[in-house]
Symmetry: none
Subunit: 415 residues, 2 copies
C-alpha cells in the first residue's frame, strides 16, 4: 500500500515584479534554478493570489490561507501567533502582543526600535525584572517573555479583555511612542487600553534605572529603556489540519510568526539546528529536516524566510542568490524523497518587491509535481511562465484542498 | 518622488460575441486599433467577468464592480444612481426612480415610450406643472426633475418608504402601462406602491390636458401624456474610494447612470463639452479631460458609452467605427500621460451582443500597462487574445485592488 504524502515548500516573499536592474526580469526569472524548473516541467503550474487579487498579504494571513483557512474569516491579529511560535500556551480570551525592547529619549521619541539589537543575555535579565511588575487590577495577569535579541511577547490574561487596542510602536525612528487607544467603543477595549498603558508606564520606570541599562550606556550601547507593543491578537478559532483532513502535519520553519500559525493549525514543529530565518540559514539542514519529517507525516510545510529578508532590504542580487540556494535545497529534497508517493509543491506566500521593499498584492507562481498531476508544458518556474500553466489562477486557500485531494484526504461533498 | 496614478478606460459594452457578418470575428477583432494593441503588447492582459461568469451586468452593477465594490452586497437599485448622476442630493431612506415621459392612448396602451424624444423645452414646462401636484399624505414629499429629452428622475422622501415596488414602465410599445405593485409583504412596500399609484394618476391627469401637449398634438407630435416609473432604488451604502484607498478619484463620463455611481463612490465629476454619451461624442475632448484630471487625481475613470449604443442598435459596422475612434482617443492619452508613473487599464463594463442587442454574461478583455506590470506576450487587444494573458480570468471587483496595489494604496492584510 502506497502512503501518499505532500510537501509544500514556501519561499517567503520569493515572487517579485520585473526589476530594471535585472533587465526588467524578476529575481526568479534570472536565477539559475534547475531544480525549480524541473519541478515546473514535471508538474502542473499556475499563479495564485494568496489572499485575493491586489491584496498585499501579511506573513500570518498568507500562511493561514496556504494551510487552507479563510483568513478573512479567521484572522484575529498577529500577537497570538507570535506567542504560540515561542511555545507559549495561549488560551481563549488571552490578548497577545509582539513587543520590542527599544531606546527612547526623555520625550519618548524613539531613537532605536531594536535597542541596538540587544543581546539575548541582556534582554533576559531585563525581562526577569519586568516579570515582577504588579498590575493594580488583581483580575488581570500578564506573561512577558523575551525571545531573540530585542524581540519579546506579552500575553494579557483575564476576563473582559479585548484585542481592539492600538499599537504603541510608532514603527519609525524619530517618531514619538504612540498613545495606546481603544479601537472601538466597547468597555473591554477601553479596559484593555488602560491595563496596557499602566504596564507600558511601569515597564518604562523599571527599565530606565535598571543596572543592565546603566552598563549598556557605559559600554556605549543604546539602553533598552522601553517596551513597544504591537499586533494585539487573540487565538484564531480554527480546526487543526488533523481535524479537517485527518493528516499528521509537520512544520519546518524558523520564523516565530510562521511557527505560531502552524502550531495554531495543530502541526508538529521541528527545530532545525542552523535554521535561523536569515539569508545565511542552513538550507540543507532544513531540507534534511523536511525529508525526515516526511517519514512520519502526511503533510510537511517547509518555510524559508530568506527571500523576504533580501526583498525587504531591496537587495535584488542577494534575492537571486537566495533563490539559487533554495534551488539547491530543492535538489536535495527531490533526490531524497520517493517521488512515486510524494507530491511536492513550490510557491511563495506573497510577492515582495525589491523596489517598494514591501509585500505586494501581485500573484505568486505555483508548481505541483507528483504521481497523478496533469502535467502541463511549462518548463520554467517563474511569475510569468506559471501564469500560462494548467492550474490557471487560484486563491491561496484553494491550494491545501488541491494537495489533500491528491492524498485522498478531502471528503466528497454530496452523495 | 514619483506620484503613481491610474487611468481606467471603459468602453461600454465594447466586448462582443463572434458575428457572422464580421466573418465570425468580434468588432474588437476586426477594428484597426494600433493603440489598444500597443497597450496589450506593452502590458499584461486577461479576461474579466464584471459580476460573475454568465451573469449579464447592468451598467450600474458593472460600474460598481469595476470601482471595487461587491455589487451583490451593495446594489440597491438604479434610481438613486440616476438621481445622483443629475446632481440631485439623495438622502438615506429616499426612494428614487428613473422616469420617462411617454405617450399612451385612452386605454393606457403605450404608443411611444419616449413621447417622440420630446425636446427639453417642452419637457421642462411639463415638469414645472407636475411639481405642483399634491400628495394626499402630508408625510411624503416628492422631487421630480426632467433631465434630457424624455428622461426624468423622481425622488420620494419620507419615513416608511420602500424600494420594493414594481415598475409601471412595460418597456414595450403596444403593451399597457403596468400596475404598480409591492414586491414583498412589508407595510412599507404596500405604502410606497399606493403613493406611487396616486402620483402616477395625478401626473397623468395633469399631463392629459396640459397646453404643451395640446400644442404638440396640433404640431403632429405625440403628447407626453404619462410618466412611466422604473428602477426603484435607494442610496447604496458604500464607502467612498477616498475612504477605502485614500485616493483622489475623478470620473469622466457623460451617462447619468455612470456619473451617479461615480458620485456615490465619492468621485469628482468632470463635465466635458461635446461629450454626449452618443456615438458622435467628442472622443478627443474626453481624452483631454482625462489627461487633465490626472494632474490632480490618483485615479481617473474614463467612460465611453458609444460602443454600447451601437450594440443595442445591432449595428456591428458602427461598433467597429466607434472602437476605432476610441483607439484614437487612447492614442492621444498614451502620447500625453507620463507612462513612467501612470498605470493605464483598458476594458469593457460588459459584453453587449450586436445579435441579441442585449448585455450578455460573457467575459470582457482587460489590459493593464504601467511601470511594474508583469508584461506578457499578448500583442492584440481582444476577447480571445486577452484570454491567454498573464492575468488569467478575474472578477470585475478585483480590478480596483489590482490597480490600487500598483499605486501602493492597498493596506496589507495581516502582519
Amino acid at each position: 500500500m502506497v502512503w501518499l504524502k505532500a510537501l509544500l515548500i514556501i519561499g517567503d516573499g520569493m515572487a517579485d515584479r520585473p526589476l530594471k536592474e535585472l533587465g526588467w526580469k524578476t529575481p526568479l526569472e534570472v536565477a539559475r534554478k534547475p531544480s525549480m524548473d524541473h519541478l515546473a516541467s514535471a508538474g502542473v503550474c499556475g499563479i495564485m493570489d494568496p489572499i485575493a487579487p491586489g491584496i498585499p498579504p501579511g506573513s500570518d494571513t498568507a500562511t493561514l490561507a496556504l494551510l487552507g483557512y479563510d483568513a478573512f474569516k479567521v484572522y484575529s491579529g498577529r500577537g497570538a501567533f507570535e506567542a504560540l511560535g515561542w511555545g507559549i500556551k495561549v488560551s481563549e480570551g488571552d490578548v497577545c502582543f509582539r513587543c520590542n525592547f527599544a531606546t527612547v529619549d526623555e520625550n519618548l521619541t524613539v531613537l532605536d526600535r531594536r535597542a541596538g539589537r540587544i543581546a539575548d543575555a541582556d534582554a533576559s535579565k531585563l525581562a526577569e525584572s519586568l516579570k515582577k511588575v504588579k498590575l493594580s487590577n488583581p483580575n488581570v495577569e500578564f506573561l512577558f517573555t523575551n525571545t531573540v535579541q530585542h524581540r519579546a511577547v506579552l500575553v494579557l490574561r483575564g476576563s473582559k479583555l479585548s484585542p481592539a487596542v492600538s499599537d504603541s510602536d510608532p514603527e519609525n525612528v524619530g517618531a514619538k511612542v504612540r498613545e495606546i487607544k481603544p479601537l472601538n467603543g466597547s468597555p473591554e477595549a477601553a479596559f484593555t487600553a488602560e491595563i496596557l498603558k499602566e504596564l507600558a508606564q511601569k515597564f518604562h520606570e523599571a527599565l530606565k534605572t535598571h543596572p543592565v541599562n546603566r552598563e549598556r550606556v557605559a559600554r556605549g550601547q543604546p539602553p533598552a529603556n522601553i517596551v513597544l507593543f504591537r499586533g494585539a491578537g487573540t487565538l484564531a478559532k480554527i480546526k487543526s489540519l488533523n481535524e479537517v483532513y485527518e493528516v499528521n502535519a509537520t512544520c519546518v520553519a524558523a520564523t516565530s510568526l510562521i511557527r505560531g500559525v502552524c502550531r495554531a493549525a495543530g502541526m508538529q514543529l521541528v527545530d532545525v539546528k542552523g535554521a535561523t530565518g536569515t539569508v545565511q540559514t542552513d538550507y540543507v539542514a532544513k531540507a534534511k529536516a523536511a525529508v525526515q519529517a516526511l517519514e512520519n507525516s502526511d503533510f510537511v510545510f517547509l518555510h524559508v524566510k530568506a527571500p523576504d529578508v533580501a526583498s525587504h532590504d531591496g537587495n535584488a542580487k542577494q534575492k537571486v542568490e537566495v533563490i539559487e540556494r533554495i534551488d539547491k535545497m530543492l535538489a536535495y529534497i527531490l533526490n531524497k524523497v520517493d517521488l512515486g508517493e510524494t507530491y511536492v509543491a513550490l510557491t511563495a506566500d506573497h510577492t515582495t518587491s525589491c523596489v517598494t521593499k514591501n509585500h505586494e498584492g501581485d500573484p505568486v507562481p505555483l508548481a505541483i509535481m507528483g504521481p497523478y498531476v496533469r502535467c502541463d508544458d511549462i518548463e520554467e518556474f517563474g511569475e510569468r511562465t506559471c501564469a500560462k500553466g494548467g492550474l490557471g489562477r487560484l486563491r491561496g486557500k484553494d491550494l491545501m484542498p488541491i494537495l489533500m485531494n491528491f492524498l485522498g484526504k478531502v471528503k466528497k461533498f454530496g452523495a
